[in-house]
């Protein structure tokens, strides 16, 4: 108990870094994934092909390898990047590929007639997306996406390997001083669990909220 009280201020620092990294990754991957996801569904053949290639490659590589590729691989190619941003970039690539697939799934669940009806009444492409497709697709998109945020939080634990003092690394550092491994690991597991489980519950809630929609 004393160890846990001693550890909490240190863990709070790490906890904030974990949240900050996760938030950055979620925002960047949402922005990038949305654009590329729309490109995958509506883009010209070459764009579709490139996005598909990007998504399949990223999803075929372990996150840890992706992190090492960015952290160790970018500087020799002349791209200066520090550990923090290497972690954010790698996790964003990983998450972005996920978002692309969620977007594709959500948009293709909307009947073709909706797009054609929008065309028939003279809406431009952007208007059709904004007023016809997105309002409907968002209900399909939200539940898996919120649930997928847990992957960003869990994945962010891997950046501790680059020496960033996130929640995982702050746990390791406290253990290095107190030599009490088990209570601290369990405390850390509890914190991660609390973040991720509340996200999963939110996802389930949103899913139930939209359960009235049938195809």
């Amino acid at each position: 108990m004393a160890t846990i009280l001693y550890a909490l201020p240190f863990l709070l620092q790490g906890f904030l870094i974990t949240l900050w990294v996760s938030a950055l990754v979620v925002v960047f991957s949402l922005a990038g994934g949305l654009v590329l996801g729309v490109g995958l569904v509506y883009g010209p053949r070459t764009v579709q092909w490139l996005v598909r290639l990007f998504s399949d490659c990223i999803r075929g590589i372990p996150i840890l390898v992706l992190i090492f590729v960015v952290y160790y691989g970018f500087p020799p190619l002349g791209i200066a990047i520090n550990a923090f941003w290497a972690g954010v970039v790698a996790l964003t690539l990983f998450k972005g590929a996920q978002v692309i697939e969620y977007v594709r799934g959500a948009i293709s669940s909307i009947p073709k007639g909706q797009m054609e009806a929008g065309k028939a009444i003279g809406l431009t492409f952007v208007q059709r997306l904004r007023y016809v497709i997105f309002p409907q697709a968002v209900r399909r998109f939200l539940p898996p996406w919120i649930n997928g945020v847990t992957d960003a939080v869990k994945g962010s634990a891997l950046i501790s390997l680059l020496g960033i003092v996130d929640l995982m690394q702050s746990i390791n550092e406290v253990i290095g001083r107190t030599y009490e491994a088990m209570p601290l690991y369990l405390l850390g597991a509890f914190i991660y669990f609390a973040i991720n489980y509340s996200l999963s519950l939110t996802s389930r809630f949103v899913e139930r909220r939209y359960a009235y929609i049938r195809d």
């Binding site: 075929g60 996150i63 390898v65 390997l161 669990f193 489980y197």
Partner: protein, 221 residues
């Protein structure tokens, strides 16, 4: 770009990567087998159990699914030996972790698979006088297996990728081999190009093979 690609050092140490890849696959195969046993047992128990058992099984599943794998690896490898007087090799420890990890995901897969078996099949089994065990063994499980095959192959692929986390406790799998070459030869870009290609080719190769198997056993609905 002042970087000149030179793969010679990679080929000289290629056995590190190759043996690493083989070990990664072995870890994934052993873990999914143990995990499938855990998952199947708990899923069968879950669908026929009372509230308390269901809550306990759900707690296990939710805990594993919501905690980073790397933390689970640390708990099993560094944490547990401090509490019990018991030590194991990194490889054994990682197989234990990954089995528990995949078990949690597979409980869900098998549970929904069991529930997806059409009611009529079970009634038919009852009608021809099969005992509950026979119904489970000869009717429910075979159909469930066919329904869950796609989810099983996806789980296997993601387990194969998750084996990269074993490098943090020095299990000499593919990522560890890549790190070793990275730190000892400094042919950084080359080693990650080769490693990435090895992961991609192996992952998609397995996926392609498993899709063929799935097609063979597809459930007509």
């Amino acid at each position: 770009m002042g970087y000149h690609l030179n793969f010679n050092l990679i080929w000289r140490h290629f056995d590190k990567l190759w043996q690493g890849l083989v070990l990664s696959l072995e870890l994934a195969v052993v873990s999914i087998l143990i995990g499938a046993a855990i998952g199947l047992l708990l899923a069968v128990w879950y669908v026929s159990a009372g509230k308390v058992v269901r809550a306990a099984i759900s707690a296990y599943v939710e805990f594993i699914r919501n905690v980073p794998l790397i933390l689970l690896v640390y708990i099993v490898f560094y944490g547990i030996p401090t509490v019990v007087d018991f030590a194991y090799s990194p490889t054994a420890s990682f197989i234990g972790t990954l089995s528990l990890y995949s078990g949690a995901y597979l409980v869900e897969v098998f549970r929904s698979g069991l529930e997806a078996v059409p009611r009529g099949q079970l009634d038919a089994g009852k009608a021809i006088g099969l005992t509950p065990w026979q119904r489970l063994l000869y009717v429910r499980l075979p159909t469930m297996t066919r329904i869950t095959l796609p989810a099983l192959s996806n789980t296997f692929i993601s387990l194969f990728k998750d084996t990269s986390v074993a490098s943090v406790i020095a299990v000499p799998e593919l990522t560890y081999g890549a790190q070793w070459i990275n730190f000892n030869t400094f042919r950084i870009v080359e080693v990650y190009i080769v490693t990435t290609i090895m992961y991609l080719v192996t992952g998609y190769g397995i996926l392609f093979g498993l899709r063929q198997v799935e097609r063979r056993f597809k459930v007509e609905r």
